[in-house]
Symmetry: C2
Subunit: 265 residues, 2 copies
Amino acid sequence: MKTITIIGSGNVATQLGLALYSEGFDVVQVISRTLKNAKKLATYFQAKASSNINDLIISDIVLIAVNDDSIAEVVEKIFQHQPKPYELKPLILHTSGTCSCIILKNKNWESGVFYPLQTIKKTQYIDFREVPIIYFSDSKNTLNNIKKIATSISNKTVVMNDEQRVALHTAAVFTNNFTNHLIAIAQDICKQNGIKFKLLEPLLAETFEKLLKKTAFNNQTGPALRKDTKTLKKHLQLLQSSNYIDVYEIMTKQIQQMHLHKSLS
Amino acid sequence: MKTITIIGSGNVATQLGLALYSEGFDVVQVISRTLKNAKKLATYFQAKASSNINDLIISDIVLIAVNDDSIAEVVEKIFQHQPKPYELKPLILHTSGTCSCIILKNKNWESGVFYPLQTIKKTQYIDFREVPIIYFSDSKNTLNNIKKIATSISNKTVVMNDEQRVALHTAAVFTNNFTNHLIAIAQDICKQNGIKFKLLEPLLAETFEKLLKKTAFNNQTGPALRKDTKTLKKHLQLLQSSNYIDVYEIMTKQIQQMHLHKSLS
């Protein structure tokens, strides 16, 4: 049974930890900046908890699931903490969609990337079988080891280098975060105008259904595409005193540009 | 059996015409700027086709399903064509989400709005039972007549005045057109980088699933929300030579503003 130390206690640390634990990995320690959060997550695994990286237990796998901006700092601390060669080299992984795998590179350990391509919330159960795990290492042997971990929790595992993973992550931000934000705006517009968003759910469902059948470009409809200037003007009037006018303008311009560009090419 | 003249031959004219026809309405004429399109749609109903509004047959219902920008022009032509009072006042409807109902007002006919809240394509079958029909008239009697038509094709009919309908339509543009465009961008980023978009389909599905359970605001994750500056920078680098950098920047700023605003309020 492989032992794991999890660094981080956020959405990814929590759900990935639970998925690995339920597949028989032995989570022995959780380290998080906030002790309370570390303890809360560690409780699931009957693991140790700490807020101090100097308490680090070098397990078979050290899973760094922290903000991208903090990964380098964590790695530096691990190295300062135990710079000597280990008898058995641990496998250090980070879960970032964008951070290079080079950042982890060190002769004292194996290292690689283990990026779950999904929107993950601490509080919402997620079936990892359906979550693509994008993994990478520049060592063939390590790549095989990571693959074993990935396939133990997911049916969809893909090797991808740093450059492609950044592109994939950027596309994921458009697919999830930005899309989700547009719906947050739509929900706010409804609220401001005494309309129940429920009325828009069939439209939301159809939007999604159509995307599974055709490419988004071919599904486009609406006033931007039709260049209904009167309609666009009325929508802008409605949004005048809101924060959303810039988004409306840029999305409208972009839709028109993309369709002009493709019709010319 | 009520007779209908359809003005327009686009997405809404086509699918709404088919839905009404299948519920027993007698579509007697299709008028469209392009005769070929009028004929193509008219064929479904064994109806007459014309590209000249002077050929207009004043049916029980005249359904104006043209670009918002063209509605006023169509109404003016109808009036010029037959300015005299009819024995039985026809019911003139437009299908716009934004255009005022006042534009149709005339003592010679009844008038109102009949707006199907859905993304509609000529070429894709749509089940109108599930499409909310937003309708309006300032005459109570007319309102009842429109309701009968609406309930004959849809299980979801809602009376809504002009102001609310504009807000609903604006929210619909965010929900569908803009969301769809973000996915078009994501698909283009994937294509440019040799990645199959299929890999992002579980993320797209989860994004949608979560929206049916919680408000979008509470579902937000990702680098903008976490303020992962390194990640944001890498994504912007990737997009540098593309048309998408403005969208990325404004959406990121907006997500951060909305969450700051709500956390302060």
